[in-house]
Amino acid sequence: MSKIIVLKCVGHNPKDFELDEAVAVQFGCIKDLFHSDFDAESKIVVDVPMKFNSYIIGRILEFCSSRASFSSDRAYWEQDFFHPCREPNQRKRKELIAIMEASEYLGMESLVELTTQSLANYLKGKNPLTIRSLWKVEGDLTAEEEAKALAMGVAKLGH
């Protein structure tokens, strides 16, 4: 008897996703369900919290069946799903954060790491001004405070 897990998404666009075993075992929180004895039902319904809408879950499931989830190389992730440099769109970045949170909830460590690293790449090695314009952060520090923050950690000998 093959078990089917159903992810039930509520909210703006309610949708039910049916997962087969190969996909469901990638989710840490669902993996255990396959190992317990559910003789009575072969179908288990998991309710997904409202803040994760069906689009995000759909994207995660897309990832699970793509080659990016089988390889530990970031190249596939960046080619098929999200390359930081090619996504200047604020909406896409918001989607990335939503995927990160949802995969954290579902217990999918590999995806959490991929998404967090993509987000971190936006902050890595960048000038605060660049980051501000990218993420629309409002700078509310005084000039002095800002100068002090920028000088931290980069003091040269003799200064």
Partner: protein, 467 residues
């Protein structure tokens, strides 16, 4: 007409206000990253180096003090920044450090400075400590470094300098230890092993001086990795009755005295570019090691090991039975590697799964070298080799074959050769990577796979690897 003009103007005005409203609405949705909770921002910042995290403190008030509570510090020092590092550590406020990574690139810093940084990390009960010294000539580890109850993971990378000066070692909670290019004597190894009662994983990469690794008293150590440089011949002895996993890269005798609990092994032979090795010597060595790995369930072999085993196949060396169930081979489709694969299959009567990775990584012996060795053995072995495995190009010829048909023929010959040498195989997975295969070629090859599976019960899968 006036009415029509008036209505037109009204429509235009309405369009403008609508546009303005949506623009404002978009801006209002603007800064959502700052509104995320601290834990999530900390998590994101922990994936960057500390200097980048510190720069975010210039973004806004919300970000100003975030970096101070980060539990991981990753400091890669590129210049004379001792004062900078001191400044960072002074302002850092988190009471506990989960991971501290320090990379020192030059030897401008005094030993006392570096010791103060290590002490800082240890005083905050660091769990994962990683120290890399790229060039430092004068540094010696302090005694307090050898005593810690909080460190669970330790990684030290040196440039062939001595590691433990000789004091007692007590790393009570240490589970993973990785040492690279550290010179450690036998006595120091003993001290380390006895001072880490909870050690589970030990990696010694290119470490010199020791000859014997006795892990019999380490009951929790189950994974061991050891790599040696090919140009420094050193024979080592491993006594490890409790390990389950062994990864070995060596080019000299490695005497596996006791590896009775081993279930998984990865064997690699390093050869240097000058080809100053003797094939006979390597052959004896590899056969002895494989004899010790007889009972392993999951075995991985590198390209050079395949080449050496090819010699065993061509010279018809008899062998005892391997109990391996899953075999993983790293290969390039050259003539000198194919017989070795056949040899492994012939000697593994219980083999269920075979995973093949074609890759360019790792040095291989030149086929000319193997050919001239076979010639020197007499018995027309070179001719036999060419006859039986002529479908496969030698390493000098591979560059000329690039067409889809020739690649397909090669792959098909390889798979045919595999299936001929095994009776029990259930699954065959071939990861095509390296310069011979690309995505376009791969799609064409995939279409031809069903023709291979026609005559066999083995489930054959082709996958594209990007290595």
């Amino acid at each position: 007409m006036a009415g029509w003009l008036g209505r037109r103007r009204q429509r235009q005005r309405r369009k403008k206000t609508r546009h303005r409203k949506t623009k404002r609405a978009k801006d209002a949705r603007g800064d959502f990253i700052s509104s995320m909770p601290d834990e999530i921002l900390h998590h994101i910042l922990s994936f960057t180096v500390t200097i980048s995290a510190i720069r975010t403190s210039a973004l806004s008030r919300r970000w100003r003090h975030l970096w101070r509570e980060l539990t991981s510090l990753y400091i890669h020092d590129f210049g004379p920044q001792a004062r900078g590092i001191n400044q960072i550590l002074t302002h850092y406020t988190a009471p506990k450090i989960m991971s501290f990574h320090l990379g020192i690139y030059n030897d401008n810093h005094s030993t006392a400075q570096i010791n103060s940084w290590i002490e800082f990390a240890m005083s905050r009960r660091v769990q994962d400590l990683s120290l890399t010294f790229f060039n430092h000539r004068k540094y010696t580890f302090p005694d307090f470094f050898n005593l810690s109850s909080s460190i669970e993971q330790l990684s030290v990378k040196l440039r062939d300098r001595h590691m433990i000066p000789g004091a007692t070692v007590s790393w009570e909670s240490l589970r993973n230890l990785s040492l690279r290019r550290c010179r450690i004597r036998d006595e120091s190894i003993v001290k380390i092993i006895s001072g880490c009662p909870k050690l589970e994983f030990l990696a010694l990469y290119y470490c010199g001086l020791f000859n014997c690794l006795d892990l019999s008293k380490s009951l929790s150590l189950t994974r061991l990795e050891m790599k040696h440089y090919p140009w420094r011949s050193r024979s080592t002895k491993i006594i490890a009755p409790n390990i389950h996993y062994l990864r070995l890269k060596t080019s000299d005798t490695c005497n596996l005295v006791d590896v009775s609990s081993l279930t998984e092994a990865y064997l690699d032979i390093g050869i240097d570019g000058n080809f100053s090795f003797s094939v006979d010597y390597l052959l004896t060595m590899v056969l002895k090691m494989i004899a010790k790995l007889q009972n392993v369930e999951r075995l991985t072999v590198s390209k050079t090991v395949l080449q050496i085993l090819s010699v065993a196949e061509i010279r018809r060396f008899p062998f005892r039975v391997l109990r391996v169930q899953t075999l993983i081979v790293k290969i390039k489709f050259v003539r000198s590697a194919i017989p070795g694969t056949a040899w492994l299959l012939q000697n593994s009567p219980g083999l269920k799964k075979l995973i093949v990775h074609t890759t360019d990584k790792g040095r291989m012996m030149d086929d000319k070298y193997v050919g001239s060795y076979l010639n020197s053995q007499g018995l027309k072995l070179d001719k036999y080799w060419r006859l039986k495995y002529g479908a496969f190009p030698t390493s000098c010829e591979t560059y000329s074959m690039r067409s889809k048909d020739s690649t397909w023929k090669l792959l098909a010959s390889f798979i045919e050769c595999l299936l001929r040498n095994t009776k029990t195989l259930e699954t065959l997975v071939v990861w095509l990577g390296g310069s011979d295969f690309n995505a376009k070629l791969f799609k064409g090859l995939l279409r031809m796979v069903p023709t291979l599976s026609d005559n066999t019960n083995v489930s054959i899968m082709l996958k594209l690897s990007n290595c």
